[in-house]
Amino acid sequence: MTPSSLQAVSQAQVPGLPRRAGLGLKHEHFVEVLETSPDIGFFEVHAENYMVAGGPFHHYLGLIRAQYPLSLHGVGLSIGGEGPLNPEHLARLATLIERYQPHSFSEHLAWSSHGPVFLNDLLPLAYDNATLQRVCEHVDQVQSSLKRTMLLENPSTYLQFQRSTLDETDFISEVIRRTGCGLLLDVNNVYVSCINHQRNPLSYLEALPLHAVGEIHLAGFAEDTDSLGDRLLIDDHGAPIDNAVWQLYEKVLAQVGPMPTLIERDNQVPAFSVLLAEAQQAQWHLAQVSP
């Protein structure tokens, strides 16, 4: 980012993300984005990919940030971890936020670090009071050290814990109520979890605090079967968005109105034009509910 564009960004009060469709920014597409300036509402990046000293990633993100609103999405903070949050990682996030002034920062209701080990997966939590208190403390800590409200993403899950005493939706509602954080509503995660746990996605949505939604994620899933031969959906971000998820998205929009909507694709990344077409499809849905 050139010094002048950085200044322009930090002088303006950075507003929330536009209520339009956005895309995950993949390094494979840096040059094409800059050369074609696609008409897209915003880009989202994984914070950890930019926790490097310099080089092409910062070069291109700076240029793209000068042209587009940005969402910073963390995948490594381990908010649900049993231990304390990693202060170094929080400091790295603060540095990135200072540098790029993103319109939104979000993380997951999950854990990914334990002791010295980082497991590189978003792992499920037992929903009990001890976990609730820990997650709320961590969200409070993130929000106070980053001096901004964060969005917390609902998980995709495959398993349940005997220790859980709360429903996932009650747990999420309570974290949002206690910490004032927003909800990153991942509609694909809702669908995946509901199929995996034989729950009705519409009643799951009804039980969530939809008034707190600040962003929506849409993605594709992979399909497997469990030991009983039942459908087991896997949130792999490696496929086009399923029709069932588009339908659920339509129902969400009817309730919450137009919302910043991200198309996520992290594996088997296709040509940029393929992702752009999915973003245009989301944009069409957004237009249907725009005043």
Partner: protein, 258 residues
Amino acid sequence: MSLHDDFSAALLAPHQPCPDGLFSSNGADPASRFSVHRNTVHSSLINALATAYPVTLQLVGEAFFRAMASLYVQAHPPTSPLMSEYGDTLAEFIHGFEPAQSVPYLADVARLERLRVRAYHAADCQALDQQAVLQTLQGQANLGTLRLQLHPSLATLNSPYAVVAVWAAHQTEGGLATLNPWHAQGALVVRQGLEVKVFAIDPGSVAFINSLGRGNALEKAVEHALDASAEFDLHQCLTLLIAHNALTHLHLEQKVSP
């Protein structure tokens, strides 16, 4: 043992049973669902290594690489959420990995690939103007006391094998036909602008650059270079560094008053 102790131990060890206290709402064996997480952990880490070490992978083939990477993941899981740093010690692991001994230069190629990843993400630093460097060098009476500061992305490697030739042969179609890996070669890795470059250099140049990197003045660095190789060519090595924007500062030795 806490819940996450059990969970993470079972994730990392592929043959350990699924932890207690889990169930599936349809009554399915929780192990069949726990394996989704275990697969994600292992395959995402193996994929990260495959992406970071593409030539190492080509040298042994996909199946061998993934089997080796799987053992590495179990022995050395990441200790940081920064995936760009994961696999820093893969070359050492390969060096001690018996089944890989049939490709003796494999560890050094992995070392070179790691230097390339580090150079790619290294700090940005404005290089000196090439003309200005040449003028300073030509007009300097006490050339030997000059200290040259190197670009943060710059690194070298000494290998008993033709590590740069092996790497370069895998960058182009048909590059393998004339490859002879059985001679010593040094490597210079540096990012020029946005592009990481790799050069074959002699052991004298490796010693010279490493000496500069430790903060030695030019005279001392030349001494180290000649110790390493009598054929060291200062002019050629400086030209290489200057032409690829590898120098970021020139300092004259500060005389310390008594």
